[in-house]
Symmetry: C2
Subunit: 330 residues, 2 copies
């Protein structure tokens, strides 16, 4: 097994976020579940966009956000995801490459357009996401270069992308390529509703030993394990994966690797502006520590610092100098 | 002369801003003039975009920004400007309509695409703008509905749009329609380089009594009058227009209407994040006061408050509740 030439390669939705402040009343009137992620079709996306206030567009996508954090910390990264041959596709490709991340998936011609996520941000910073998957759901397995996947220490996958059929097949192929090359597979469960649709697949992957590093939040942990009790859920899942990381929002996070266990509180922050990307950036900080061989507690701390940075402003990509923030941790 | 049913109708570039933080060294290496506005062609736009860091897209355009401020303050507004039939055109149209501004100019099919402005934001908040005019330069005079123009108390025009031929003809036609209906014409000089190209046109318009309200910053004042001395420049120009408003950045602003003169200092602000839109939002606050019949000094104060809000964050459109800020002024 050769030395990896990349730190992390990720497969994820290639999405541009369309974000606007909103009142909780407006979110309710639109029939949205506050704090949730809902898939929407063309008509519903148009309806929600028309109801949305003046917005800003910032590249997003869960795994892509995580890579943006990793690259900002100094990791070498590559992204695989499907954009369309349109202006939002150019925006996504520009932003990810400008962050120093290799991105070679060719844009897809014709309809549907590049994926977008309409995000209503509540006064307390909570985000309510409505994702129009567009081109993103047509990532073909053929877009994967197995030798590039084999060249990365970690393959990172987002559960959100398990919904559409073609990317699911592509991710299964990528897992084989990574495991065949002796690399680690990291997986984020993404959303409790994704687990309600694909929990059986996820449990099978875990049971088969395909997942080396599993990221979950407390809702996803409960959905996957069926355990309402947090500690019981952690214990159940930790016995099945070599490394488990569970975030608990304002209550911090826990990591378990075999008999080793570490916890970290959430970083204090003056004002939560927009929680979009909190989990993604937590994963970025943690994974950076992991690939650099930090102790578990220090990786958690870096995750908490990166999450705190991203919720202090609009958008799920880091704005502050993450290397500088990391350096302060020593 | 009937009562106006609209407060302000504006004709301007329909632009989406593409904004990213930048070092001053990078701005210099790219051959850009820090703080300036340069028109760029397709190739140069591509070159600059490739050199730009991860960005965010926020609707812009000078007069459109001013309307966004006016509408946020409670004025009734309409915008005329040319987008292309593409995703950035949809973004611009959505954002301006979501701000409560009537916008009916049909999107233009085919090339060129919607205008964008690549904005490099320095650590001190200074913005360096590179504008690709795209579809915006093809606003035809036929897009103007003279009865709508006649229905607004003020017609607001941006000097930036004097460069391309078709919008220039459209603006001349709009001036005739407004003056014919006994309405006021407000004009912002936009940029000293615009004056170097079109100063003769502007001086003729002023001499002919076509401009009722003139907005300038100190550089534009000097360029238009040829007076290096600020007070001499103000005196020279104030004798030619019924109402002159000159902004001086951190030194505040001056307004002169006949024998009446008022000054206002700049509003104190914790941190200048991005100066894009400072002049546009100053004009918004001032014009709102003007159409509501505020005293000169109070209109200036409202301009300063709106400018301070917009430079406290990224993007040239207001984010805070301007009505609330205005209410605090009494």
């Amino acid at each position: 097994m050769s030395q990896p030439s990349l730190d992390v390669i990720a497969i994820g939705n290639a999405i541009v976020d369309v974000m606007a402040p909103s009142s909780d009343e407006a979110i309710e009137q639109l029939g949205l579940v506050r704090g949730g992620m809902t898939l929407v079709d063309t008509d519903r996306a148009r309806e929600l966009y028309e109801a949305m206030g003046p917005a800003r567009e910032i590249s997003g996508g869960s795994a892509a956000n995580t890579l943006a954090g990793l690259a900002a910390l100094g990791a070498s990264c590559a992204f695989i995801g499907q954009v369309a041959d349109d202006q939002l596709g150019e925006v996504f490709a520009h932003d990810i490459r400008a962050g120093g991340i290799a991105f070679g998936t060719p844009a897809r011609a014709g309809d549907p357009p590049t994926a977008r996520c309409l995000i209503f941000v509540s006064p307390d910073g909570q985000r309510t996401m409505n994702t129009y998957l567009g081109a993103s759901q047509f990532l073909p397995a053929a877009a994967l270069d197995e030798s590039t996947i084999a060249s990365a220490a970690v393959l990172y996958l987002e559960g959100y992308l398990w919904d559409p059929e073609e990317p699911r097949a592509a991710m299964r192929k990528a897992i084989s390529a990574a495991k065949g090359a002796g690399r680690k597979v990291a997986f984020t469960l993404s959303d409790a509703f994704v687990i309600s649709r694909h929990g059986d697949d996820f449990r099978k992957l875990i049971a088969a030993g395909e997942i080396d590093i599993l990221f979950a939040n407390q809702d996803e942990l409960a959905a996957l394990t069926g355990e309402a009790n947090f500690d019981a859920g952690v214990a159940a899942l930790a016995s099945q994966v070599p490394l488990l990381v569970v975030t608990r929002g304002a209550e911090g996070a826990v990591a378990v690797a075999g008999t080793e266990r570490a916890e970290v509180p959430a970083e204090p922050i003056a004002k939560v502006v927009d929680t979009t990307g909190a989990g993604d950036l937590f994963a970025a900080g943690f994974l950076f520590g992991h690939v650099r061989g930090y102790p578990l507690a220090q990786s958690l701390k870096l995750g908490a610092v990166c999450a705190a940075e991203v919720i202090s402003h609009y958008g799920a990509r880091p704005e502050a100098d993450l290397r500088e923030l990391a350096a302060k941790l020593g």
